[in-house]
């Protein structure tokens, strides 16, 4: 996908976003972590591509609601300043079907540009160029376009980041290129870690993710999220739940995928992961699958991320301000 500026925001889109956002404008208790679930049941029929304009509207509704902003554009301006380089950390390893949707990434790129960030300062990145390509992201050939960059091209720094049981080198894209990152995981099952959502998606920023899948990723996933560059640069998570997968992940398994037709938006990755996990568990139960706990792959790393040694967010449903729009 060579991505550039697309059609500007229309008055009609703005109006829709504004109307949709009205629900979310109610004030949350300040100590709660807000998680917005935006959905559009008609967004995508099973296995069809979602329509760009509808995805834009859904995205606007989700982000405006999350920031309780007056307009989608005002919300986007809260994410990054015009002089900043913004990374979009997609999830591509499993290729099309189980990767962050190109339509969603195009929509985010468009809104960032409208918020004043030039296309050349937007970087779509993940571990490998080949993973990006398999998910439909083509490296842009022109410098004025959004860049797509695998860590295999960008390289890793030489300073070992260490926390708890984890020690890793970090992607230069994260540490040197980007000022801010929007984390873009996919709502899906993971055969080892239970689920792969906001916290797990940062494994794409380290040189040695294979070392941290033991014990269902606990405490490693939480530890990796404590690395300062990761904590400080990720400003927002937008979880792609247009198509979701409740079993057989992280590989794409169409028989266990369904159209959730939504987005999950949060700044608190723990609250987002807890919320996404519950959605997947409910779908598993509905389809007659055992719970992740029964399968010994309950994502305990989510609770670890919330503990006193990490404090990355909350997994307490009482402290999550869940907003559905």
């Amino acid at each position: 996908m060579g991505m550039g500026t697309q059609a500007g925001i229309t008055r009609r889109n703005l109006l829709c976003a504004g109307l949709g956002g009205a629900v979310a404008l109610r004030a949350a208790a300040p100590e709660k972590s807000r998680v917005v679930i935006a959905s559009d049941p008609a967004l995508r029929a099973t296995f069809a591509s979602p329509e760009s304009a509808r995805v834009l509207k859904l995205l606007d509704r989700a982000v405006q609601s999350f920031y309780a902003a007056d307009s989608p554009l005002a919300a986007w301006k809260k994410i990054a300043r015009p002089n900043e380089v913004v990374g979009l950390k997609v999830n591509c390893l499993s290729g099309r079907g189980a990767a962050t949707s190109t339509v969603l990434v195009e929509a985010i790129g468009e809104r960032l540009q409208q918020a004043g960030i030039p296309a050349r300062n937007i970087v779509v990145w993940d571990r490998l160029n080949s993973d990006l390509e398999s998910a439909g992201f083509q490296p842009a050939s022109r410098k004025d376009r959004i860049r797509c960059l695998g860590n295999d091209s960008a390289g890793y720094g030489m300073d070992l980041a260490v926390f708890g049981s984890a020690g890793s080198l970090l992607s230069n894209t994260l540490t040197k290129t980007c000022d801010a990152v929007i984390n873009l995981p996919v709502l899906k099952d993971h055969g080892i870690a239970g689920v792969t959502l906001a916290l797990k998606n940062v494994f794409g920023a380290i040189h040695n993710p294979n070392k941290y899948h033991v014990n269902a990723g606990n405490p490693y996933i939480a530890d990796v999220n404590m690395f300062p560059a990761i904590r400080q640069k990720i400003r927002l998570t937008i979880c792609d739940a247009i198509s979701a997968q409740y079993e057989g992940g992280p590989s794409y398994m169409p028989q266990w995928s369904w159209s959730f037709n939504g987005l999950l938006v949060a700044r608190d990755p723990v609250a987002l992961d807890y919320t996404g996990w519950q959605i997947l568990e409910r779908k598993r139960a509905e389809k007659g699958f055992k719970s992740l706990r029964d399968l010994h792959r309950e994502p305990l790393y989510i609770a670890t991320a919330a503990d006193s040694a990490h404090r990355l967010g909350t997994n307490d449903p009482q402290r999550i301000d869940l907003v559905k729009v």
Binding site: D152, G155, G167, H207, N210, K211, V214, S251
Partner: protein
């Protein structure tokens, strides 16, 4: 880059700089020890971890990848470090003393020791470190060119590049070059037996004598390593054991005594046991170097338990670097650091009292 620079200089400093990671078919062979599972998953049967791996994913070691339900090693002939080292550096003290070993590694390891001194090659993926293509027959030829009677598979973890080790050992044998494996011994029985049929000596890093340490510091398990040592004894391959003594973590009298008794019972009193000095690095920088008194204490306990060849390593000039005849108590191999000063052995026996000293002492072919 010419071959000599490659060997002597260029790979001394592994480079994690950005490089395009074009998949290179030369380095990719189908793995030998795995089973296929439904939905294009596989289960690796090389080491006790038995990773179950989805399509397009890699195992814990990072050098084996599932591609469409077939499992591949990505490090066949993909050498990221190559040096000519004294065999004493491995350390192997009862194996061709005073000779050089042509020493090679690929990226990857199946554990993650917090004290790893080679983490910049062992804890990375093959595409994250510069490598050279050295197929097995070239490796044997290089060893001969550098007057090395042996090839050492070392630095990282040869278990994870075992396909390359197996073929290189065979090529080496055909060229009159021996093979030695320097390993953590975290390997399943069948692949180990195949290695035993082709290599001449194995040094095992027994990192501690407690499961707790293996879990917390090594990210592995003790039991399979002990099983591997017993397999080596049963297969009749020459083996030596190294134990890195880390202050406060694996240095109690009880642990040293338990280790000594196990070695004596299961492997026999003649197996060389090296206590090695720890220096802080990688993820374990908060501990001091091992006091020499601790190493002396470990040796005293093992001597008292009846082990015949207990060494102290990483302490240049220590008398326990030399091999002492257990009968007449005279030095039969005198060492200072990695240098062998004198050998007083005649046909594998003590020159002074004719006590047989176990080991592989003679080259079988002239290089």
């Amino acid at each position: 880059m010419d071959r000599r620079r490659f060997v002597l200089d260029s790979l001394a400093l592994p480079c994690l700089a950005a490089r395009a990671a074009a998949p290179d078919a030369r380095f990719t062979v189908e793995a030998r020890f795995y089973e296929k599972l439904p939905y294009k998953k596989i289960k690796c049967k090389l080491c006790p971890r038995e990773c179950v791996i989805d399509d397009r994913e890699r195992g814990y070691c990072g050098v084996r990848e599932n591609r469409g339900g077939t499992y591949y090693s990505l490090v066949y002939s993909r050498v990221c470090a190559a040096h000519v080292d004294p065999i004493e550096k491995k350390p192997l003290f009862h194996f061709l003393p005073g000779t050089q070993a042509f020493s090679v590694a690929t990226a990857g390891c199946n554990v993650n020791c917090k004290f790893c001194q080679n983490w910049d090659i062992s804890q990375v993926r093959p595409e994250q470190v510069e490598s050279e293509y050295i197929p097995p027959r070239n490796l044997a030829a290089l060893a001969r060119r550098y007057n090395c009677p042996s090839i050492a598979y070392t630095y990282s973890e040869p278990v994870v590049f075992s396909e390359y080790v197996l073929d290189s050992a065979e090529a080496g044998r055909a060229a009159g070059v021996k093979s030695v494996v320097i390993s953590g011994g975290y390997i399943q029985e069948e692949p180990l037996k195949q290695l035993c049929r082709r290599v001449d000596a194995v040094k095992i890093d027994l990192k501690a004598f407690s499961e707790k340490y293996y879990k917390e510091v090594v990210n592995g398990e003790l039991k399979p390593v002990l099983d591997a040592l017993v397999t080596l004894r049963k297969q009749g391959v020459w083996h030596e054991v190294v134990y890195l003594v880390v202050p406060t973590l694996n240095d109690s009298d009880a642990e040293f005594r338990g280790l000594a008794r196990w070695v004596k019972t299961e492997l026999g009193p003649d197996v060389p046991l090296h206590f090695s000095r720890f220096y802080p690095q990688y993820l374990l920088k908060n501990l001091p170097p091992t006091p020499i008194a601790t190493l002396d204490r470990a040796k005293s306990i093992c001597d008292a338990e009846g082990l015949h060849y207990v060494y102290i390593g990483n302490v240049p000039g220590h008398p326990a670097e030399s091999t002492w005849c257990p009968k007449c108590r005279r030095a039969v191999v005198e060492r200072a650091g990695f240098t062998v000063r004198a050998i007083h052995l005649d046909g594998g026996k003590c020159h002074f009292c004719h006590q047989p000293i176990p080991g592989i002492w003679e080259r079988t072919s002239r290089l």
